[in-house]
């Protein structure tokens, strides 16, 4: 999956999407690639997992070969208007930007296309070997991926439409872009992942490169049944572990083919979490 030029990482909120994104950025840079990791919605999680104290809106190197920034919509809008749409200099930009900002808040698809455009422009610039994106969570992902088509439906002609069409093609091209879905082995994340996959396959908006199950527990390997352990916290903790493991097995069977990443115990910093996950990437 790290062969793509653009890798989007999404999943239900709370499954560890930013940590997995950061771990992939680390893995790519360990393989000698120059990596750009983009936080599309919440820059903080991604920056923290890359060991940065705070997030910035300009690409900067946080680890050798790993650059990152968080998308800022108003800046992206400016860039979109000036660079991508080549709005002529004669246009009073401030007034136009103000109007455009208002438009962005009202017209469907424009906000999304501006955020979605940013990683795609970075791919077109070809400054990096791979662009890895901490994408919006599953609930919003489809409206972002559909944004180019939304715009194309809405706008009959002109530069925006042309731009949107090029974006749609870039996203849908398996040689360029791919989507990794992250989930935990719990009811809601698995069901939402399965549902999103079928919608994505039906609409062919982007090529799926796989699913990874995060926070997967290892078997305890007890000789005896934990229920036979004498009463006390050792028994309770063993029962908890076995119970969670059973739940995970159940939901793993509903998920279909997937890779796994381990549950990390202990008090780890976000940077440590990403590094441990990068070590743990095992294709199953």
């Amino acid at each position: 999956m790290l062969e793509r030029k653009l890798l989007l990482v999404s999943g239900k909120g709370g499954v560890g999407k930013s940590a997995v994104t950061a771990s992939l950025a680390l893995r790519a840079s360990r393989g000698g690639k120059k990596v750009l990791a983009i936080g599309m919605v919440d820059g903080f999680g991604l920056a923290a997992h890359l060991g940065a104290e705070e997030f910035k809106h300009e690409p900067h190197e946080v680890l050798p070969g790993v650059f990152t920034f968080a998308v800022d919509r108003s800046r992206s809008l400016d860039e979109y208007l000036k660079i991508q749409l080549r709005v002529p200099r004669s246009v009073p930009t401030r007034q136009f930007s103000k109007a455009a900002n208002v438009l962005v808040d009202t017209a469907p698809g424009i906000r999304e296309i501006i955020s979605m455009g940013k990683p795609i422009f970075e791919v077109w610039k070809a400054t990096y070997d791979i662009v890895i994106v901490d994408a919006p969570p599953l609930g919003q992902l489809l409206s972002y991926l559909r944004a180019p088509a939304t715009i194309a439906d809405l706008v009959p002609a002109g530069a925006i439409r042309q731009q949107a069409e090029e974006m749609r093609r870039a996203l849908a091209d398996p040689a360029t872009a791919g989507l990794l879905l992250v989930t935990t082995l719990e009811e809601l994340p698995v069901l939402e992942t399965v549902e999103a996959l079928s919608a994505l396959e039906a609409e062919r908006l982007i090529d799926g490169v796989g699913i990874v199950a995060n926070r997967v527990l290892a078997p305890l390997g007890l000789a005896a049944d934990p229920a036979d352990v004498p009463d006390g916290p050792h028994r309770d903790a063993a029962l908890l572990h076995e119970h969670l493991l059973d739940e995970q097995r159940l939901w793993a069977s509903r998920l279909g083919d997937h890779d796994t990443l381990p549950f990390l115990f202990g008090l780890l910093t976000p940077g440590e979490v990403a590094a441990r996950l990068a070590d743990a990437w095992v294709e199953t």
């Binding site: 109007a99 609930g139 809405l154 002109g158 925006i160 719990e186 916290p233 063993a238």
Partner: protein, 349 residues
């Protein structure tokens, strides 16, 4: 007519909002109150737990609990339904035919949240219920639900319209003059033709809804401000981050959460027990290591709760981890009994 007490249960998806909402409803009804639990989640588990085969859009009495009813908010309610309710039929017809409106209607999620909020307000305003417990829609942890009335006001009385038209509401025939603004000619060239005109026309039509809809939206906003809002979280880092963000964003819209409920808390006693000798036998080492790991997890959760409480100076309640989510009335009641601190948040008793 009574003034209903309203509890709004918010939090990220999967933290146990629906179950807690049902449990609070059961306990209050058993204390002799007339209670309505409104859910957005057609979770079979909830309707099973409440002993009713399905929950409809009208309050359905729960047979096993006197005084308790449940209703489901219809989040499929469309923009069309909202405009039909508030607009002149001619305007509604024109809106339905406007391509921009159709796109918005399909893709503007605030409409669904707004429809849900309107429905909630209707139930509260009947004055029949002592308590209405609202299980919020999962999008953005329920925040959309709070923002929907304000967003609706912004959209229909909005900046774009004012910018296009000046402060006053223009007549339809001035439309062409609006779109003749030089800046807009450039915009049209970029956007491709009639888009702006469609938007302007849409906004002008929507503008006629403003008085009715805005007044309604404001009254819903007031209702939300006086409701007791609680944030449900588990103590996983991601869920905590969500809860923190959500807590702060609620404060931004003038809603002060009554408290935070931490669900699925591991026993604090495991932290110290991790050093106790394990039971003898072949599994001694595995059992010791396992309790140490989960003891660390319990400690991390405990620290996280402590930090959250210190930072926001809010009351914190915890509900212990249960082997499986409660699925009967008795289990729901037991869950609230086993909880620690719910009374501090004014949610029980």
């Amino acid at each position: 007519m009574r003034r209903s007490h309203v509890i709004v249960v918010t939090g990220a998806g999967g933290v146990g909002k629906t179950t807690l909402s049902a449990a609070l409803g059961v306990v209050a009804a058993r204390a002799g109150k007339e209670v309505l639990v409104i859910t957005v989640d057609p979770a079979r588990r909830l309707s099973d737990a409440l002993g009713i085969p399905g929950i409809g859009n009208r309050p359905t009495p729960v047979p096993d609990v006197e005084g308790l009813s449940a209703a489901m908010l219809d989040v499929t309610a469309s923009w069309e339904a909202i405009t039909r309710r508030h607009a002149h039929p001619d305007v509604a017809d024109r809106l339905d035919a406007n391509p921009f409106f159709r796109t918005i209607a399909d893709r503007f999620p605030a409409a669904q949240s707004y429809a849900a909020a309107e429905q909630m307000a209707e139930f509260v305003e009947t004055g029949y219920w002592d308590l209405v417990v609202v299980d919020t829609p999962p999008s953005a942890g329920g925040l959309d639900f709070f923002l929907a009335p304000r967003r609706m006001r912004d959209l229909i009385g909005g900046r774009l319209l004012r910018w296009l038209t000046g402060a006053r509401l223009p007549a339809r025939r001035t439309l062409y003059r609006i779109t003749a603004k030089p800046v807009l000619r450039v915009a049209d060239a970029i956007l491709g033709g009639p888009l702006l005109e469609e938007i302007a026309e849409f906004l002008l039509d929507v503008r006629t809804l403003y008085d009715g809809l805005a007044a309604r939206a404001r009254s819903i906003e007031r209702l939300m401000v006086r409701a007791a809002t609680i944030v449900v979280s588990t103590a996983t880092p991601a869920s905590l981050r969500e809860a923190r963000r959500f807590y702060e964003e609620l404060t931004d819209v003038d809603v002060t959460p009554r408290g935070v409920v931490f669900n699925r808390a591991l026993p604090v006693s495991w932290i110290d027990a991790a050093n106790a000798p394990p039971p003898d036998g072949r599994d001694a080492l595995a059992l010791r290591d396992n309790l140490r790991r989960w003891g660390e997890e319990a400690q991390r959760m405990h620290e996280a709760r402590r930090k959250f409480a210190a930072r926001h100076q809010t009351s914190i309640a915890t509900i212990p981890w249960l082997e499986s989510a409660p699925t009967t009335i008795e289990e729901l009641t037991a869950m609230v009994r086993a909880a620690d601190g719910l009374e501090l948040a004014g949610l029980t008793g």
